[in-house]
């Protein structure tokens, strides 16, 4: 069993603190994605897990054992690098053989394993080629192959798809999912691409500035972000953020003044008081042209039609507002001065970014 646990991991590079106290448990067999903007510490955290970087303090636990002092291979961890890191002076077969050779496998066993791995990743016809003779996707397969050549309980992927073109990325994404099903190992995956994270993960860890902002299933993070950062980081186009002032807050209802001067009432229990500055957040797809609980003013500046749906971009007072347009009977309904949202779809965050309304319904399959 290979669950992973980080206990208060800190890592500093000189005066710079890259990780500021990470506590995290990844259950056995999970597909866990570290997601965050560049420089958030996600790669550092993975390198600490791999044993390529020594944490300044804290414990790394793999399969119940503290592995702080263990070498990468002793941890039973395999890793695919962003650059693929294929050994340029060896052909594909020798690349695949290297980890087997390092673990003192006999030639017979190695040969059999190499054939097997090559079959799984469909690189049998490339075995005699040098890495420089491979395409990006082929290099990627070989890099994964070299990692799975040894039986390992944890696989790490450091932005493995970022060097591939868009089509290939989608293809490899599916392949990784297939691989995860087949191997049933714990996988940890680092990316800054939220689409990749949403598609692959059964557990996403969102990081910023060396700390974890939120942990949960893709659905949980998307539907009930804990704070303003997570809310605006996930989703494309971004969640709308409207600055508002609380006019009045009482049990079960709150009234806000928007930057446009309009006032709206939200019939929810909001942990706030009159005079507080808050952010009202609504996803573009939760806005509609049909009347609903809340009405917001919108001056449309631009529209985009993308086939099944489209977007209208504009302003609502001093704030930007984007609405997703839905095609109905072959045409798009354009907003006329006002857009609408249901009370349930609204997220409210305080000045410090914390959530002020409880989730309406807990999403299914919550991990954390």
């Amino acid at each position: 069993m290979s669950s992973i646990e980080f206990r208060n991991i800190r890592k500093s590079f000189g005066a710079v603190e890259a990780l500021g106290g990470i506590d995290l448990e990844i259950p056995d067999g999970a597909f866990c994605v570290f997601l965050g903007p560049s420089g958030c510490g996600k790669t550092t955290l993975m390198r600490v897990l791999a044993g390529l970087e020594m944490q300044t303090s804290g414990d790394v636990v793999v399969a119940g054992a503290v592995v702080n002092e263990a070498t990468p291979s002793e941890r039973g961890v395999g890793m695919v690098f962003q650059s693929y890191a294929l050994y340029p002076h060896m052909n594909v077969r020798e690349n695949l053989r290297f980890p087997l050779k390092m673990s003192d496998q006999t030639k017979d066993v190695s040969d059999r394993r190499i054939d097997e791995v090559a079959r799984i990743l469909q690189v049998e016809h490339l075995l005699d080629r040098r890495p420089s003779q491979l395409s990006g996707g082929q290099k990627q397969r070989v890099a994964i192959g070299r990692t799975i050549a040894l039986d390992r309980s944890v696989f790490l992927f450091d932005e493995p798809l970022s060097n591939l073109d868009a089509d290939l990325r989608v293809e490899m994404r599916l392949e990784l999912q297939r691989l995860h099903k087949r191997l049933k190992s714990t996988m940890v995956y680092v990316t800054h691409d939220q689409i990749e994270a949403m598609a692959l993960a059964d557990m996403i860890v969102i990081m910023r500035g060396g700390v974890i902002e939120q942990v949960g299933t893709p659905d949980a993070l998307y539907s009930t972000p804990d704070n303003l950062f997570v809310a605006t980081f996930l989703g494309s186009p971004k969640m709308n953020v409207l600055k508002a002032t609380v006019v009045e807050a009482s049990g079960g209802s709150a009234r806000f003044r928007l930057s446009s001067g309009d006032e709206i009432t939200v019939r929810r229990d909001v942990r706030t008081r009159a005079g507080q500055e808050v952010s009202l957040c609504i996803r573009p797809e939760d806005l509609s042209v049909a009347p609903d609980d809340i009405a917001l003013p919108l001056d449309v500046e631009m529209t985009e039609f993308l086939g099944p749906n489209g977007y209208a971009y504009g302003t609502s007072g001093a704030d930007k507002l984007t609405i997703q347009l839905v095609r109905r009977n072959g045409r798009f309904d354009l907003p006329q001065g006002k857009v609408h949202a249901s009370t349930d779809a609204i997220h409210i965050f305080g000045e410090d970014g914390t959530r002020l309304v409880d989730r309406v319904h807990a999403p299914k399959g919550e991990v954390a």
């Binding site: 070498t71 291979s73 890191a85 340029p88 290297f98």
Partner: protein, 295 residues
């Protein structure tokens, strides 16, 4: 019938001009380079010519620039030796042994040192400059202390002595040449090797060194040629029982006569191993360009 030559060129594409004016335009870089080329290559030509000329022709006046009246006497003299001097092969052999062993010795220390400093910052920021400081002092300035040291250790006029001192003087060069290569080489490859179960040592041997091969080849060529051409140390710290080719050449300027033809013949033989060695290393240099396991 239409033949290929009948097919008209697309309008706007002119036939390749072959006029005198066009040729003049394209060959002007060569015209500029020509005097430099003559300046650089003439001495080589003259040495080759001298090596194959009889003694009487070497001093003839007016000078004859063309190869006429050639002979193998000079080559024969240095090849088979005389009462005064052993055959040239002996000295070439000594140079070769010292050059190869000292180069290998210096590479072993220099490459591992560059790797340790480049990858693991051993010795902090001070060490690289400290290693370079060995070269601040010209070897000749140290010759007296070295001579005394060598005498005390019984290293005067020995292979071991010359190999040691050449090796030590070559390490800074190799270190600094390789340091750049180590720092430029992707760290990912060795980290991948660690993850694959390799120790630091195995990752260096199996992964880092092959990747650094072009740099190592360049360092090896420079080191070997430097040692091959060295005279002062070879003359002062050895030169009797252990005599290199550079010590042999001036011996041909005897009290009776300056054997110019023989010197030229021996010089010609002396440059051959260097050329041969560089040609072998060429393979590694070219192979380095074909690498590309990343991205």
């Amino acid at each position: 019938m239409t033949s290929i030559s009948d097919v008209r060129r697309p309008t706007g594409v002119r036939a390749r001009p072959t006029s005198f004016l066009f040729r003049l335009k394209t060959c002007w870089p060569w015209l500029i380079l020509l005097p430099f080329l003559v300046f650089a290559l003439f001495p080589v030509y003259w040495i080759i010519l001298t090596a194959f000329r009889p003694r009487s022709d070497i001093f003839q006046s007016p000078v004859d620039l063309l190869p006429t009246n050639l002979t193998l006497d000079n080559i024969r003299y240095v090849w088979f030796g005389s009462e005064a001097n052993a055959p040239v092969v002996n000295f070439l052999g000594t140079s070769l042994i010292i050059g190869v062993v000292a180069t290998v010795f210096a590479l072993l220390l220099g490459v591992t040192c560059a790797y340790a400093v480049g990858r693991f910052r051993i010795g902090g920021s001070f060490l690289p400059a400290f290693i370079l400081s060995f070269r601040y002092v010209p070897p000749i300035a140290l010759i007296v202390p070295f001579w005394m040291l060598f005498r005390a250790l019984g290293l005067l006029d020995t292979y071991t002595g010359l190999i040691l001192i050449y090796g030590l003087f070559s390490i800074p060069l190799i270190f600094w040449l390789l340091l750049g290569y180590v720092e430029a080489a992707p760290r990912d490859l060795e980290e991948a090797a660690y993850v694959d179960g390799a120790s630091h040592w195995k990752a260096m041997i199996h992964i880092a060194l092959p990747v650094l091969a072009p740099g190592i080849a360049i360092a090896a060529v420079f080191t070997f040629i430097g040692i091959w051409n060295e005279f002062v140390l070879a003359y002062q710290l050895a030169g009797n029982k252990v005599a290199t080719i550079t010590v042999y050449l001036p011996r041909l300027r005897t009290a009776i006569a300056e054997l110019y033809g023989e010197i030229a013949a021996a010089s010609l033989l002396a440059v051959l191993p260097g050329i041969f060695f560089a040609a072998i290393m060429q393979r590694f240099l070219v192979r380095g360009l074909a690498f590309g396991g990343l991205k």
